[in-house]
């Protein structure tokens, strides 16, 4: 039992958070900020599978988010497809694309992989930016409201629960995956690719699985964000957003599900808090990032866990 409990502890923590927050948050604005944390957190959990467990960097994951987001914008607007079906199609498209480009790209290592994924993300962003007729170009486009059985899905609270639900679902799947044979294979790959190969692990396959799964997470997060905003702009697929996602994962703590959400919280909530600094906002964000990484170099959550363990021991 304790083993099972330990395994699902991250999920329980997140579940408690999602359920408790509405009692603390007063306005739709605060609910929205929480919702943004959930969508970003979902993407970060997925990216964490790739970075924290398989040990592979991606500087292009915002591209997959962009595919999910623009699928729910373009397909209903131009082709009359139901938003829910568009959601599914977008997520599948991102997964398939990741599967297709993953094979050649994942042969690259370290910084070379970073630049290749960067290129891939830039290509997606460029298509979105320039296919003005379809995507509305740099000014973005509206996302039609979703209608389910005659009920229009809208309102801050509704989307809060939907995104919260997806976050929990994402966390459950991630926790299960990490403890599955695939998860163990990924960890072996992370430690040493050659050693893993000697042990008979299909390294390429394990990495490809992680890459595809993380793309599916990113596309889901992107599509949810598009629904919440009812509007998308190409920023969502841009390089800076990719960097932001990587930063979330590393700040929160590589390999930690709760860490990914904590990282997302930091980057989403901090700009809201730092508005009191006016023009010093960016300087403050940069310095905080440096400070956190120097003093909590394993990331916020693993460092705190280490501290607590160290004290109780």
């Amino acid at each position: 039992m304790p083993a099972l409990l330990r395994r699902f502890l991250p999920v329980l923590i997140l579940l408690a958070l999602v359920v408790a927050l509405p009692f603390l948050l007063k306005s739709a604005y605060q609910l929205r900020v929480a919702t943004l944390v959930f969508t970003a957190g979902l993407t970060a959990i997925g990216l964490n599978i790739l970075m924290g467990h398989a040990g592979q960097v991606s500087l292009g994951h915002a591209g997959f988010g962009g595919i999910g987001a623009y699928a729910v914008a373009i397909l209903p607007t131009h082709y009359g497809i139901h938003p829910l079906a568009a959601f599914g199609l977008g997520v599948c498209a991102a997964g398939l694309l990741a599967y297709a480009v993953g094979r050649p790209i994942l042969r690259l290592r370290g910084h070379y992989l970073a630049v290749a994924t960067l290129g891939m993300g830039m290509l997606i962003a460029m298509v979105i930016q320039n296919q003005q007729g379809l995507t509305g170009g740099p000014d973005g486009m509206q996302v039609p409201r979703m209608e389910l059985f005659g009920w229009r899905v809208r309102g801050a609270e509704t989307w809060y629960w939907i995104c919260g639900g997806f976050l929990i679902l994402g966390a459950v799947l991630a926790v299960n995956l990490i403890d599955s044979p695939t998860g163990r294979a990924l960890r072996a790959v992370h430690d040493s690719e050659v050693a893993a190969r000697v042990l008979g692990i299909d390294v390429a396959r394990a990495k490809l699985t992680a890459f595809t799964i993380s793309a599916v997470y990113a596309a889901t997060g992107g599509a949810l964000l598009a629904f919440v905003n009812a509007f998308v702009t190409p920023d969502i697929a841009g390089f800076l957003h990719s960097v932001e996602l990587v930063t979330m994962v590393v700040l929160g703590g590589l390999g930690s599900v709760v860490g990914a959400v904590v990282g997302a919280t930091i980057l989403v909530v901090l700009p809201q808090v730092l508005t009191v600094f006016h023009e010093y906002e960016h300087l403050a964000i940069g310095l905080i990032m440096i400070g956190v990484m120097i003093f909590m170099r394993a990331g916020v959550v693993p460092t705190l866990i280490g501290l607590v363990r160290g004290r109780s021991a």
């Binding site: 604005y29 998308v232 600094f277 023009e279």
Partner: protein, 384 residues
């Protein structure tokens, strides 16, 4: 600066406390919100806009406020990101409880914020260019700048007068350039203009000679139009001169700041562009009805901000004045009444021209508000 604004918010807080303590005596402040792209790729727009708003709110308050009530300005920087803009918009409406919003530097951020203000029924005066903002008309959404469609029309009108029909278009792929390119392609036929070369460049590109070389090599080009804002047009203009192209060269209202001439240097001479009267404020005849407004804004802004005036800051001025004017006429700060008053704005003289709103026109400007300027000897002059 921060010390100053901290002091200001402190003062604002004190005023508020006073208002709470003696509601019958002290008047409530008029809370106006602004989400601007003060940093990021559109800081070219957001920075002068923010400076203008702060500067004029301070001046209005120093002069006793509007009808005895002080204005309190709440600004947020969205960095050009539509997602952030929407969050801040919601914060303005729900946490800050503003009565009107003057802001939204880009079309992308504006479009993302529209539903928030429509739902909350708070008037929203956008400072962005694209026509989609006011077409179709939305009940609570207004805008101050001329549309990019009008810029295209003004340029094509001038081309027609000079009997130039075949043009090369070179536009930036950022929001401003892409939107204007679309509008220019759409209205070209109406003016008998044929776009024979259509090139683009990225918002951060530092060299556009390959694109211009291609246009130069296109048969039949009689003039070149550049649709973009920021540093791009300055680079295009310098490249244009470097390649020795001598065809008439048009820029858009996106470069309407003295800074463009400083950046483009010698190469700027001979460039024509449609812009508001603001740029040629001191050259307007005294009989011009806009003269007083534009000279006043230009002098004030340049004195305080210590940088050349731009039409973008002017848009913010116009937006703020529309709200102030509406508060006076409505004699209320109830958002819905303000909206009605804004829609009834009539003949308000702004930097962009005389503004007259109607229920079917939430911009209130016509083509006459645009002047065709030509740069000569490093300064603006009125063409024709």
């Amino acid at each position: 600066m921060t010390c100053h604004s901290a002091l200001k918010s402190l003062l604002g807080g004190a005023t508020l406390a006073l208002a709470l303590a003696a509601p019958a005596v002290a008047q409530e402040t008029i809370k106006i919100g602004a989400v601007l792209s003060a940093t990021g790729p559109a800081s070219f727009l957001g920075d002068p806009e923010e400076k203008t708003l702060k500067l004029y709110v301070d001046r209005i308050n120093a002069a006793g406020g509007v009808g005895g009530r002080k204005i309190q300005l709440v600004t947020y920087d969205d960095g050009g990101d539509a997602n952030k803009a929407k969050t801040f918009a919601q914060r303005l409406v729900e946490e800050d409880k503003i009565v009107a919003m003057v802001g939204g530097s880009t079309t992308g951020t504006t479009m993302a914020m529209i539903p928030v203000f429509e739902d909350a029924e708070v008037p929203f005066i956008s400072l962005a260019g694209a026509i989609e903002i006011v077409e179709p008309v939305r009940k609570f959404v207004f805008k101050t700048p001329h549309t990019d469609k009008m810029a295209c029309e003004k340029i094509f009108d001038d081309l027609k007068k000079r009997s130039l029909a075949k043009i090369g278009l070179v536009s930036g792929t950022g929001g401003f350039g892409a939107s204007m390119r679309k509008q220019c392609l759409a209205v070209a036929a109406k003016y008998g203009v044929e776009i024979v070369a259509d090139e683009t460049y990225g918002p951060k590109d530092t060299d556009v000679t390959p694109q211009l070389t291609k246009i130069k090599g296109t048969a039949g080009v009689q003039a070149v139009v550049n649709a973009d804002f920021g540093q791009g047009p300055a680079i295009v203009t310098r490249n244009y001169r470097q390649l020795g192209i001598t065809l008439p060269f048009y820029q858009s209202h996106g470069v309407a700041s003295k800074q463009f001439i400083d950046l483009a240097g010698e190469a700027a001479n001979g460039v024509r562009l449609p812009a508001s009267a603001l740029l040629v404020a001191d050259k307007l005849p005294d009989s011009d009805p806009q003269k007083k407004t534009v000279v006043g804004y230009k002098t004030t802004f340049e004195e305080v901000a210590k940088q050349p005036v731009s039409t973008f800051g002017g848009h913010a001025y116009d937006g703020l004045m529309m709200v102030v004017d509406a508060v006076k006429r409505a004699n209320s700060t109830e958002p819905k009444k303000l909206r009605d008053a804004i829609e009834a704005t009539k003949g308000l003289m702004g930097t962009a021209g005389a503004i007259t709103m109607t229920p079917t026109d939430h911009m209130g400007l016509d083509l006459t508000a645009f002047r065709m300027l030509e740069i000569k000897n490093g300064d603006w002059t009125l063409a024709n």
